[in-house]
């Protein structure tokens, strides 16, 4: 069916999953405050959050299965949105599942921590739906504010406090860029609606207008901060290291995915005609990110920091999909984000399991001989790391994600072949650190004084198993997933006639 978003009831209907999640989050917020903090309460709220997420996931899948469209309006109703929502919700489910056991171990009894995941997720869903720069801003803020708090959840840890403050300050700073960019783009085009902006740039030949270009550049900087690409990545390693492990996974996977979803939509819909201006900068940012982050990752000793740099690297790879500027690029982005999310959660499940109370075992050297004491964890970690490496068969779906990205790059009208080559060559560099962890786990003997890892909790094990099984199965039979991604491009352009143009445009 086709929604007319000007009718409030239909707009509501188009936003049903978002509203359900938000309402569930608010209800649970009250429930969380109802009792004094205790581990039992924390677990109960966590389980209830899982329930809310599952209901939302069901709704999203149901909405995605129906053939829904909508006219121009503040939100998009298309498969891209539902597909991105699925990724966020899967990530949120895994986060809460990991966090329940992590919190119990670390003595974090704030039940609100799970509710914050719900809030952040609803912000992400808003971002995926946003077809108006104001909604983009709204989504980013809902998401970010929740994540700022989550990053500092562990009040006993100085590192967490440092990371959270850094994240908050730099995040606020980047939001400033974003907002200023939105204002300038509005000033240049007279609209905040994405398709309208895109249309007006073409209609009024605004492509070379200074204010618009500056606005677009500021938006680019804002998004670059959020997805953490070089040189706007400085906050990421510290924040990722300090935050509780499940939150780190959430930031590395879901927050990045949401920022990329909005980034892609804004770029495809608004700035397609500005390609001459942004192609070069994005190309270079992608190239520099791949090279710098990969090389720096080689020097890391802490697994969390290693994965932080790895997530920066992947942002660089994903910029290739943005630079492709095509529907194929959008499909590749979705596919990649899903594969990446699975691998990230698998890897962080292991980090969380190996970490021990107080996160004392985070160094790569703590993984020495893991195969001999916890073979399941070692094999799971190896699969996830190979998936991040994009290795066929053993890395499962990670390989196809990279393959899809290459397809998008090589099919792009602009010349992305050198960037594609750089992508694969730098991924060989990344083998240096991913395999280092594999090597430490399998080939080094266990140290004499090494502590026996704690038993792995059921939920952590479930997250790891699910990730690994999905990675491997989708790595052998990616057909359906590929079809799904191919059929999920964002809607482009206006489906109805453009609204009347404001007077007094330059």
């Amino acid at each position: 069916m086709n929604f007319d978003l000007a009718v409030p009831a239909q707009l509501m209907e188009a936003l049903t999953p978002d509203i359900v999640l938000m309402a569930g989050a608010m209800g649970l917020m009250l429930a969380a405050a109802w009792r004094t903090d205790s581990d039992r309460h924390q677990r109960a709220v966590g389980l209830a959050s899982l329930g809310v997420l599952l209901v939302t996931l069901g709704l999203v899948i149901w909405f995605g299965a129906r053939d829904l469209t909508a006219g121009t309006g503040p939100v998009a109703v298309d498969r891209f949105r539902w597909s991105a929502d699925v990724i966020f919700l899967v990530a949120a489910l895994a986060t809460v599942a990991l966090a329940i056991e992590y919190n119990a171990r670390e003595g974090i009894q704030t039940a609100e921590s799970h509710v914050l995941v719900l809030f952040a997720t609803s912000g992400m869903m808003t971002l995926a739906a946003a077809r108006d720069l104001m909604i983009v801003f709204l989504g980013i803020e809902i998401m970010s504010i929740a994540v700022y708090v989550m990053a500092g959840l562990n009040r006993r840890s100085a590192k967490a406090a440092e990371g959270a403050l850094k994240y908050f300050l730099l995040g606020a700073f980047s939001t400033g860029f974003l907002l200023y960019g939105i204002a300038l783009v509005y000033g240049a085009t007279g609209s905040t609606n994405l398709p309208v902006i895109g249309q007006r740039i073409v209609e009024y030949a605004l492509a070379h207008q200074g204010m618009l270009l500056v606005g677009a550049a500021l938006l680019l900087v804002g998004f670059a901060f959020k997805v953490a690409v070089v040189p706007f990545h400085m906050w990421a390693p510290d924040v990722y290291e300090g935050a509780p492990t499940p939150v780190t996974a959430f930031m590395a996977a879901a927050v990045k995915a949401a920022a990329f979803a909005a980034f892609l939509r804004v770029w495809l819909e608004c700035f397609g005609s500005l390609e001459f201006a942004w192609f070069g900068p994005i190309w270079w940012v992608a190239a520099v990110t791949m090279v710098v982050a990969n090389v720096v990752a080689l020097a890391q000793r802490s697994v969390k920091r290693l994965l932080a740099y790895s997530s920066i690297v992947h942002s660089g790879y994903l910029l290739v999909a943005i630079a492709a500027g095509s529907r194929l690029g959008a499909s590749a982005l979705l596919f990649y984000l899903l594969a990446y999310t699975l691998a990230v959660f698998g890897a962080f499940a292991v980090v969380s399991a190996v970490g021990r109370a107080g996160e004392r075992s985070l160094e790569i050297s703590d993984y020495e001989g893991l195969w001999n004491v916890r073979p399941g964890l070692a094999v799971g970690m190896a699969v996830c790391l190979l998936a991040l490496l994009g290795f066929p068969v053993f890395g499962g779906v990670g390989f196809f994600a990279k393959l899809y990205l290459l397809q998008a790059a090589l099919a792009a009208p602009s010349n992305l072949a050198p960037l594609a080559v750089l992508l694969v060559v730098t991924s060989v560099v990344s083998a240096g650190y991913y395999l280092h962890v594999v090597r430490v786990m399998f080939m080094k003997p266990r140290r004499e004084d090494a502590v026996e890892p704690e038993p792995v909790g059921g939920m952590t094990r479930a997250v790891l198993t699910a990730s690994v099984v999905l990675i491997l199965v989708l790595g052998l039979l990616p057909g359906r997933l590929a079809t799904w991604a191919r059929n999920s491009p964002p809607t482009l352009g206006t489906t109805t006639s453009a609204p009347p143009i404001a007077r007094g445009l330059p």
Binding site: L386, F391, P392, V393, F394, F399, F400, L403, Y404, L406, Q407, L410, A411, A417, A420, V421, V424, V425, S427, V428, A431, G432, L435, H436, R439, F442, M443, K444, L477, P478, G479, A482, T483, R486
Partner: protein, 527 residues
């Protein structure tokens, strides 16, 4: 035999079965390990003995099953034999397409027949984590034969990479002193080459979209429909070249080889030398040359490749001569032999190509046997240094006989397998590239020099080291695994016709296809 194989529809199921049997076997082996593991996590000794037998049984079954290919594959056919085709990823035009010709059939047989011997070779030297070890060997087998039978570029790539992780772990977990360094180096070198090839594969697939604009990875389809500009062909050829040249390995990309071969456990070295290096040369024959004939016949490209091949031949032989470590000597001799293969392939006439394919096989047999013998030496004396031995023919006569025969075949003495291939390569390349052939021929002398010299220092000379007096001669297991190899050495050396017959049609088609392109090219300068 043919009638029997036809009656059981051998050709319609054999390739998928060969591909899946090792994977299924790996699961069986792992399940066995999991079931027999006690609460303490330690394995009872009986379980170790049992898993060896299970693995040997699986590899033997694979070998016996594959033997039928010798009769069922019609080497003179111009279509793929034992062809099967299943859909895989419709959206990306990737299919599971398997098929062989004479060349691929021989390499598959080489793989399946050598694997049981490799397992026997490491029978007692591997003591830890047996279940994982055998499971990895089995997965590795799938990857290796998958490379030889894939007719879909994406499947080929997946198989090509599939081998990498098991081999990495085999070297890294069960290898020698510097295993960590060697395994990583092996992995990174190979991956660098293959990743660039991946970009080329995707590019190729997108050049020839199907009716719906989706990419197509089918080898036959690309071969028939790709229209590449000479520049694009050159770049793509370069990408494939990098991947295959690392694997072959061609000088100067060979430096991973001595490390990997020396540090790997015996079975790993055997597989690396006898089978995995062949994938590089097979890649040239199956993919790089037919797909990009315009680049392969480009005079500059050919001269560069031939030069590298000849440098590899001479360099490998010279470096082998000064090695104090016998395993390293054998490893460098591989560089030299594989140079012959490359020389034969790029000299591009029927004789040289057939010779190259013959060197390919006979190098597999004789270097495989050499690594097995090195393994036997090492197991007894725990040293690979030539100077630690001397005069052991007196305490190990059977070993001395075997080593002498295998060394002769590696040198290429007439009557052994090594002679046939190198001779054909040299005649073939002399006709088109006399200069290269003459330089390469000198390496035959070097080969005699380094191997005979090593032979002299190991098994002859006085038996002056007290440790060497107690060495046991070969036991029945070791003799049993060497007998088939010695048989193959003489069979291929004295009556190579059946093998040459198997490769003739495929080699002719390759040469014709590539040369036809040269004739069609309007620009024929530089000739």
């Amino acid at each position: 035999m043919e009638a029997f194989l036809a009656s059981i529809h051998y050709n319609s199921w054999i390739l998928p079965v060969l591909l899946l049997l090792p994977i299924a076997g790996a699961t069986v082996v792992l399940a066995h390990g999991w079931l027999t593991q006690g609460n303490s996590g330690a394995l009872p000794p009986s379980s170790s003995a049992r898993v060896r037998q299970i693995a040997l049984l699986l590899f033997t079954a694979e070998a016996v099953l594959s033997l039928g290919l010798w009769w069922s594959v019609d080497p003179s056919a111009t279509n793929w034999q034992a062809f099967v085709d299943f859909p895989w990823i419709p959206m990306w035009g990737a299919r599971i397409t398997l098929g062989v010709d004479g060349i691929a059939m021989l390499l598959i047989l080489l793989t399946t027949l050598l694997m049981p011997l490799a397992v026997l070779g490491g029978w007692t030297s591997i003591r830890e984590n047996l279940h994982s070890y055998y499971a990895l060997l089995l997965v590795l087998t799938t990857g290796m034969i998958g490379v030889f039978m894939s007719l879909d570029l994406l499947l080929f790539f997946a198989m090509w990479e599939l081998m990498l992780v098991p081999m990495y772990l085999i070297i890294g977990v069960w290898g020698g002193q510097r295993r960590l360094y060697a395994s990583l180096k092996f992995f990174l070198y190979t991956m660098l080459g293959s990743m660039v090839m991946l970009v080329a594969i995707v590019y190729l697939a997108m050049q020839t979209p199907d009716g719906l604009g989706r990419p197509v990875f089918s080898y036959d389809y690309i071969l028939a429909n790709a229209t590449l500009s000479p520049t694009a062909a050159l770049w793509l050829f370069g990408a494939f070249f990098l991947a295959f040249a690392v694997k072959v390995p061609m000088w100067p990309l060979h430096t991973w080889l001595p490390d990997a071969h020396v540090e790997a456990p015996t079975a790993g070295s055997v597989i690396l030398a006898a089978i995995m290096l062949k994938m590089g040369t097979f890649g040239f024959v199956r993919f790089a040359l037919p797909l990009f004939p315009s680049a392969a016949t480009n005079e500059t490209v050919r001269v560069v490749v031939l030069t590298l091949a000849v440098i590899g031949i001479v360099y490998g032989a010279l470096v082998a001569m000064v090695q104090p470590d016998f395993k390293k000597l054998v490893a460098y001799s591989s560089v030299s032999h594989l140079g012959f293969v490359m020389l034969g392939i790029f000299a591009l006439n029927l004789q040289s190509v057939q010779g190259a394919l013959m060197v390919n096989l006979s190098h597999g047999v004789s270097t495989g046997a050499l690594f097995l013998l090195v393994g036997m030496m090492y197991e007894r004396r725990h040293s690979r240094l030539i100077e630690d031995y001397g005069g052991i023919a007196r305490v190990m006569p059977a070993f001395a006989v075997a080593l002498s025969i295998v060394a002769m075949s590696s040198i290429g003495v007439p009557g052994t397998n090594g002679f046939v291939g190198e001779f054909l390569v040299l005649i073939g390349s002399f006709r088109t590239r006399p200069l290269f052939a003459v330089i390469a021929a000198t390496a035959v002398i070097f080969a005699a020099a380094y191997l005979l010299w090593a032979l002299q220092r190991i098994i002859y000379n006085p038996l002056d080291k007290p440790e060497n007096r107690q060495l046991r001669d070969l036991n029945w297991r070791e003799i049993g695994l060497l007998v088939p190899l010695v048989f193959a050495i003489f069979w291929m050396g004295i009556y190579p016709k059946p093998i040459l017959d198997k490769t003739r049609t495929a080699a002719t088609r390759l040469v014709e296809r590539v040369e036809a392109m040269k004739v069609n090219q309007p620009v024929a300068q530089g000739r």
